[in-house]
């Protein structure tokens, strides 16, 4: 377990700075690991090996030249395939974009490159980031390294799985209703959704623009904070990005102190529908927070039970509008362009052939919710419910500094188990959706394996807008307390299993 592939970003950074290892060695180790485990895990849609090695070589050269480099220079990272990376396929898990290679970089991609990170490739996701299992990917599902028969969560299952398959120490995700946090929860990794507007959406293929938010994924809290610091901050190319300083998340991740922090347990996120093993680990983690000096109390957010309904009207409405751009005119897959069919017929057929079942379901649902005569009853009511959710958060944050809940009601479910039951699939995001509707910061941290099935459980922390640092303060203290109990990180169990004959 002392291989390069098991080391975190911060440790690799120190080894590289100290000259004990080169970025090329680290990158090669990751690429070899990818080649070894991809047949079973399928976390990547595209491995950008040649360019990754070239990026690594350049960082090593700059370091040898004595140039000042950022803390993550030379550290490998995997990029969710919803972010544009010039020269690499960017499919969004959809047939309609299967041959698309963007001519530009997303702001997140550009910031990774500017900070000297080594992009290993593009990770699998549910089509256009719509799903909670990666089973909606047109290119097949990703498997959860804890149990290959189970889902890695979604939509960012590829990014989350790649971390505990030890293919990369860092990954980028995007979170619209839980697509960073729910996969983090079911893979035992750290996933953070920054405050809406805290990181740029420029070049992130849009799903629901008022909800989408890029964020960091890692195996440890400090690594996630370091990656957060690289990608976050104002971007003139995204009119919804916030022109304010990024909170010092790295300092917060090194504080390890909860004294006086007021923590609210959300009463509505528990009980019926929640697995007993999830609730047990959650209660134990809350007790640890209390033992660490936090003041814990119950807090009611009475409108949270309506969040799922509001989300499944607002999100498809925005989806139906955003996916209208895939018209087979300027880019994307075009079918039946044979001279006999008009542009509109080609458009219908291309969209019919290019979109998968979930994308179609959401386009139709959104078209209905926005249609004349039903707008007030559906979209209008959902927008009002969104106001009530925001008010619940505001009232709660007058009493406490952060809110906590399980990150998802159950552990990883089996591949295929929920594919034909959209409503069961949607419920995986029950706990994560409120923070997307309200735009506040939220994260999932690993808190152990469920005694029921031995699968990872995550704790969600929710903080007020622009108080992202509080997520890391809680996460770091929790991580330290748990690692003392376990004599190491949760993921070490996976590495041990592999070493056993």
């Amino acid at each position: 377990m002392n291989d390069l592939i098991h080391k975190g970003a911060w440790e690799l950074s120190q080894l590289m700075t100290g000259g004990q290892v080169s970025s090329q060695e680290v990158t090669t180790a990751c690429l070899e690991r990818i080649a070894q485990v991809e047949p079973a895990v399928a976390a990547f849609l595209h491995v950008d090996a040649e360019r990754a090695l070239e990026l690594a070589r350049r960082v090593d050269q700059r370091r040898a030249d004595g140039q000042e480099l950022g803390p993550l220079a030379g550290v490998p990272v995997a990029l969710k395939d919803a972010f544009a990376y010039a020269g690499a396929p960017t499919t969004c898990g959809s047939l309609i974009l299967r041959d698309w290679i963007p001519p530009y970089n997303a702001t997140v991609t550009q910031r990774l490159l500017d900070a000297g990170l080594v992009i290993l490739g593009k990770t699998n996701l549910d089509e256009f980031a719509m799903g909670s299992s990666t089973e909606n990917s047109a290119f097949g599902p990703t498997h959860n390294p804890w149990d290959l028969e189970r889902v890695p969560g979604g939509s960012g299952g590829g990014s989350a799985a790649s971390l505990v398959a030890f293919e990369t120490p860092l990954a980028i995700g995007s979170d619209t209703g839980g697509s960073i946090r729910q996969p983090a929860s079911v893979t035992g990794t750290v996933g953070v959704k920054p405050t809406y507007g805290g990181s740029s959406r420029y070049g992130l293929v849009a799903m629901a623009s008022s909800l989408d938010q890029p964020g960091p994924c890692a195996r440890s809290v400090l690594d996630a904070a370091l990656l957060h610091q690289v990608i976050a901050g104002w971007d003139p190319k995204d009119s919804t990005s916030i022109d304010a300083p990024v909170p010092d998340v790295v300092a917060a991740a090194q504080r390890f102190d909860l004294a006086g922090l007021k923590v609210g347990v959300v009463e509505e996120l528990g009980g019926e529908g929640y697995a007993a093993g999830v609730e047990q680990r959650f209660a134990e983690a809350v007790a640890l927070l209390e033992a660490g000096g936090a003041e814990v109390r119950q807090v009611s957010c009475p409108h949270f039970p309506l969040a799922l309904g509001a989300y499944y009207l607002i999100m498809p409405s925005e989806v139906s509008s955003n996916l209208a751009r895939f018209d087979a005119v300027r880019y994307g897959w075009r079918v039946d362009d044979d001279g006999d069919h008009s542009v509109e017929q080609v458009m219908r057929r291309s969209r019919g052939a290019g979109f998968g079942a979930e994308a179609k379901r959401r386009i139709i649902l959104g078209t209905y919710a926005l249609s004349s005569g039903y707008y007030d009853a559906y979209y209008g009511s959902a927008q009002k419910t969104r106001t009530l959710i925001i008010e619940d958060f505001a009232a709660a944050f007058e009493q406490v500094d952060v809110l906590v809940s399980p990150a998802t009601p159950t552990t990883a479910f089996k591949l295929g188990e929920r594919v034909d039951d959209p409503l069961a699939m949607y419920k995986a995001d029950l706990c994560t959706i409120p923070s997307n509707l309200a735009g506040n910061a939220a994260a999932s941290f690993p808190i152990g394996l469920s005694p029921q099935d031995g699968l990872p459980v995550g704790l969600q922390v929710m903080a007020p807008p622009l108080a992202d640092d509080r997520l890391y303060r809680v996460g770091a203290a929790l991580e330290r307390a748990l690692e003392e109990q376990w004599s190491g990180p949760l993921w070490a169990e996976l590495a041990r299993r592999e070493e056993r004959p």
Binding site: Y196, P305, L306, V346, S371
Partner: protein, 98 residues
């Protein structure tokens, strides 16, 4: 309210989305279930509650009116489904009924 097969076909038409008969049938049943499940939003949505379209207070963002570099034409056309004479080629637009 229950959606009929024709309703869903009409919505697909509005969304410029070709669906097979099987897809239509399946969607009718699923959309009904989903709409029933989301109906709870109407409970809380009273007249006094103001709607929220965005979590942030949005302001219009203007940039300085200066020319900046744009993508070269070849880069933009490289990913087009069809190109002719340095432009996007599209299927015929007129004569829809033909």
């Amino acid at each position: 309210m229950a959606l009929s097969r024709d309703d869903v076909a009409k919505l697909a038409d509005l969304a410029r989305l070709e669906l097979t008969e099987t897809e239509l049938e399946r969607l009718v049943g699923q959309l009904d279930l989903i709409l029933t499940a989301v109906d709870s939003v109407s409970q809380a949505a009273t007249a006094e509650v103001a709607p929220t379209s965005h979590a942030l207070a949005l302001v219009n963002v203007m940039r300085d009116d200066v020319v900046t570099a744009s993508l070269p034409r070849e880069a933009v056309l490289a990913m087009a489904p069809a190109v002719e004479d340095g432009r996007f080629r599209v299927p015929r637009i007129l004569g829809e009924s033909a």
